[in-house]
Amino acid sequence: MTVRVSEGGAIELSGRCGVEDAEVLQRHLLAAPGSTIEWKGCELLHAAVVQVLLVGGARVRGEPRTAFLRDHIAPIIARSMKQP
């Protein structure tokens, strides 16, 4: 499972999240708006998943595994985060 909801209610992204994960993530976010997303196990995010994160104004937590996600994608997601 690359997208799953943890016991604490956070949405966890791990491994290589492909295009098919976008819809799953969208469903989770719609079910629980404002959920925190834990992506420390994440190696790859498909552009479609990033698009959902940006539109959903998701709050991400942890440090992903690759430099590209950490240095380039994390700041973009942080900027898109919706003000509570």
Partner: protein, 729 residues
């Protein structure tokens, strides 16, 4: 060659060096007006010189470069990277012409500036064509550069990529394509059309516009994007588009300096000393941080004067002068210093210095022979002996001083060798599409002219290797979380009688397993021998002739000549090369070279009835061992020293070609270090130490293996100096 032309050659070469320096500096700080003026002046003076010797083609070529500067000045913009590249090409052409003049003694009649003129004409046209639409764009480029000011400095291209809306359906990942760009510096993502609400979003429809800054040429970016490049706008980032970090820094510094002046304003108040000291310290620190060292020192001095004299004026004036900018006080001081330098130096031909070195060498030999005569006189109990001995001691001292003075005269800063490398790195980096900066440390370190000249070739190999093999490609660097722009460090330092030069890269390090495999594949050593080696020894295989791990033969390296050239080149200068590597963190190659090549210290030994010299550099120790500690190993012998087994050779046998089956049970043994390995050589007798002028062998003896050279002895005899590494082999 007539004298005018000879002078023209010398001066032109100096000016070309100066201009290259200025151009490379301008490339880094395109808005440095002073550098621009310096470069302009160098080109102008070069052109003037060409006019005096009536070299029309050179005048024409330089005129084009001058025009490019003039245009940049008139439009008060910075010189573009393209212009700098063209100016460098122009200087290359000039150097080629100068080389022809040197060989033929006359100005080449067929010299033609057509290529250079065309080069600048193209650049001019391109500038006109590109300036209009760029300003009319929707500003994404300016926004991107402003949002990523520091990434914009090394950026060569900017792109805006709008993937097709159904690209997700077609199993494409536009972001992965961007992530894979070599030299990726910054990324931004925005919506193509405004974002819908989350529940209205079609997760399978791509609504992204991705913008990015890349340290790679637009052509390279287009190639890396492949088919998708038609969905991307790719723009070259030129120097004048980059946000200027230095300027805002200077503004902040000015504000701080102003604050210090305000702090000093109410004169005559108590605690004045404390305020002066703190204002002086802050102002000096700010200027030092900006690299304006001389002004920083001036302020520190002024603060001390203010405190000592109890008045504020000196410090206030110094800060106010510094606020007028780096062009005023400090520059005046520097140019005064420059003028002083010019007055105190004399231009002397290198051949005259070399003649002086030769004569000093002869004088040392003559002094040594006088020493021999003194000994003979003493042995015969002559009453002249005491007087002669004193004279010899005085002569010895004077000759040593002369030798030091001559050595100092031949000394050059390593800058003379290093100054061409920033350009080399620039070219290799462009060729390999691996963005890199060269950091040079200790270029003021001095070394003998022969060393400075001969070290260039090994260093070229090392720098190429560092960039070609050491530095990873862009994707691998990104994966490892390393900055896209690699750093290659070239440093030099004096350590006692040696000069140490290091080349360090921040690349992947050397994979010892690969080295072993490559050595096996190329049959450089037996497979068992390779397997038995420690990692350190295996790493040393890299220095064997014919070694190369490059899979493809590139223009730069991969032909199996490389590190062995480095080691032999450095060894020829009497130096050693070592290599250190850390997986994932990079590789350092360290060359230790003698400071001077004039005098070699040798130890004399006797073998087979003849006296030989052994360079003292190689000798670790001398000892006698009991015969029960010498034992046979096959047909050869070995000794055990501090738990290490060291192969033992009897020098007399080696030199006469006799089998090495007999060793003297009590003869003295010289332990020598050869390429990191210890070897033991048994001799008949050990003599003394002596300073000699080592001469390479010529005539009949040239090429005799095992001999490093010869030297003339005090008694008129000739001392053959052994190359122990070859002897042992």
């Amino acid at each position: 060659m007539d004298e005018l032309l000879a002078q023209f050659l010398i001066e032109s070469r100096e000016l070309v060096d100066k201009a290259v320096d200025d151009l490379l500096a301008l490339e880094k700080t395109p808005d440095d007006r002073e550098r621009l003026e310096d470069a302009f002046r160098a080109f102008h003076t070069l052109k003037g010189g060409a006019g005096i010797v009536e070299f029309a083609a050179m005048q024409e070529a330089l005129h084009c470069a001058e025009d490019a500067f003039a245009a940049a000045r008139a439009e008060s913009r910075s010189v573009s990277a393209l212009d700098i590249g063209n100016c460098l090409s122009c200087l290359d052409q000039v150097l080629e012409w100068l080389g022809t003049i040197e060989q033929s003694g006359a100005i080449p009649p067929d010299a033609d500036a057509g290529d250079i003129v065309a080069l600048f004409a193209r650049a001019g046209a391109q500038r006109k064509a590109s300036s209009a639409p760029r300003n009319a764009g929707d500003g994404w480029l300016a926004g991107l550069l402003a949002a990523h000011a520091s990434a914009a400095q090394p950026a060569q291209s900017a792109l805006r990529y709008t993937p097709d809306a159904d690209s997700f359906f077609r199993q494409q990942d536009p972001l992965a394509r961007i992530a894979a760009l070599p030299g990726l510096l910054a990324v931004d993502i925005g919506p193509r059309v405004p974002w819908p609400k989350l529940d209205d979003l079609d997760p399978f429809s791509c609504n992204l516009t991705i913008t990015a800054l890349v340290a790679m040429s637009p052509a390279g970016v287009a190639a890396a994007l492949g088919d998708e490049s038609r969905r991307a706008e790719i723009e070259a980032v030129s120097d004048r588009m980059r946000p200027i970090e230095a300027e805002s820094l200077a503004r902040k510094a000015a504000q701080i300096l102003e604050a210090q002046l305000r702090l000093l304003e109410p004169a005559g108040e108590p605690h004045q000393q404390g305020r002066v000291a703190s204002a002086g310290l802050v102002a000096a620190n700010v200027l030092r941080h900006l690299g304006r060292t001389s002004e920083s020192e001036a302020i520190a001095t002024a603060a001390a004067v203010s405190i000592a004299e109890g008045r504020l004026e000196p410090l206030v004036e110094a800060i106010a002068a510094a606020m007028k900018g780096p062009t005023s006080a400090a520059v005046a001081g520097v140019s005064a210093a420059r003028r002083k330098d010019v007055g105190q130096t004399m231009r002397v031909g290198a051949e005259k210095i070399d003649a002086l070195v030769r004569l000093t060498g002869e004088l040392i030999v003559a002094k040594n022979s006088l020493g021999h005569s003194v000994k003979v006189a003493e042995q015969r109990g002559s009453d002249l002996a005491a007087g002669l001995k004193n004279q010899h001691a005085a002569l010895d001292r004077l000759v040593s001083e002369l030798q030091r003075a001559v050595v100092a005269m031949r000394v050059l800063p390593l800058r003379a060798a290093f100054q061409r490398f920033p350009r080399l790195i620039r070219e290799i980096s462009a060729e390999l599409d691996k963005p890199a900066t060269l950091v040079i440390d200790g270029e003021d370190t001095e070394a003998d002219k022969a060393i400075v000249e001969a070290i260039v070739e090994p260093l070229v190999h090392l720098l190429r290797n560092a960039l070609d093999h050491g530095v990873e490609d862009g994707a691998t660097r990104a994966e490892a979380g390393k900055p896209a722009v690699a750093t290659i460090r070239l440093s030099a330092a004096r350590e006692g009688e040696h000069v140490v030069i290091e080349v360090t890269d921040d690349g992947a390090g050397i994979d010892v397993a690969k080295i072993r495999q490559a050595a096996k594949d190329r049959n450089l050593k037996a497979a068992e021998a390779i397997a038995a080696m420690s990692d350190e020894e295996a790493l040393d295989l890299i220095f064997l002739p014919g070694f190369s791990t490059a899979k493809t033969v590139t223009h730069l390296s991969g032909r199996g000549v490389g590190m062995d050239v480095v080691r032999t080149g450095v060894a020829r200068l009497g130096g050693q090369v070592e290599l250190r590597t850390a997986a994932g963190r990079g590789t350092t190659v360290r060359a230790t070279l003698p400071f001077s090549v004039l005098v070699t210290q040798v130890m004399t030994v006797e073998a087979g009835g003849q006296v030989f010299g052994i360079p003292l550099d190689a000798v670790v120790e001398t000892l006698r061992v009991e015969h029960d500690r010498i034992f046979p190993v096959g047909a050869a012998h070995a000794i055990v020293l501090r738990d290490r087994t060291i192969p033992l050779l009897r020098l007399a046998n080696v030199l006469t070609g006799r089998p090495n089956d007999h060793v003297d049970e009590s003869g003295p043994i010289v332990i020598a270090e050869l390429d990191g390995q210890l070897g033991a050589v048994q001799v008949d007798r050990i003599g003394g130490r002596m300073d000699i002028i080592l001469k390479p062998l010529d005539g009949l003896l040239a090429g005799v293996p095992g001999l490093a050279g010869s030297a003339l002895l005090g008694d008129g005899g000739v001392l053959l100096v052994l190359d122990l590494a070859e002897v042992v082999q």
